[in-house]
Symmetry: C2
Subunit: 112 residues, 2 copies
């Protein structure tokens, strides 16, 4: 059972939950009301988000409030960010492709 931030944000429902909770802390029921799926389904999503460190859950009376821990998204952010220079490159994809291919073949293909 993989439990990392990438798996956590892979599901669209969980991304929507993150969005909700980034605006305000909500109880489990309050979260569940925003979705079509059943409350137990939301409960499971919240459990996964908690296990991935993306949310905290605090009991208050008989309610459990979910609040986001935005720092948990930083690893995913950094992973994607490392490719930023790539997509900001001046060279367009086709040129990059040709260059890479040349490098690739400079030893074995002598007739191109």
């Amino acid at each position: 059972m993989r439990r990392d931030v990438f798996q956590a944000i892979a599901d669209p429902v969980r991304r929507d939950i993150i969005k909700l909770l980034s605006a305000q802390a909500l109880s489990v029921n309050e979260v569940a009301k925003k979705f079509e799926v059943s409350r137990p389904a939301i409960s499971k999503h919240l459990k996964i988000l908690k296990e991935c460190g993306i949310i905290d859950i605090h009991q208050k009376g008989r309610e459990r409030y979910c609040l986001i821990r935005p720092k948990s998204l930083i690893p995913a952010f950094l992973w994607i960010e490392q490719y930023q220079t790539l997509w900001e490159d001046k060279l367009d994809s086709f040129e990059v492709y040709l260059n890479q291919l040349q490098l690739q073949h400079k030893k074995r293909d002598k007739n191109e």
Copy 2:
């Protein structure tokens, strides 16, 4: 069958493939050699990456070269980036939590 960037980068093998191809274009076999799993397994990962627009595959002789299309990662980058202000907030999580809870309860809880 979900086919979006988030699902594409959810798998660690696919993230490693992206890393490889960000350095240079490689043929399917060259990619497969870098991993423990079988070539057909890599072939499937490459197919998913292609369907998500993360790589292009160009035939050259009997080899197929995979090259990254880094721009396809931008949507995921933007999604995570929107929470950057959240994790850069001066307030620490506990204060945020208390504030949110106050807002949450300012109408119904008058005895706290």
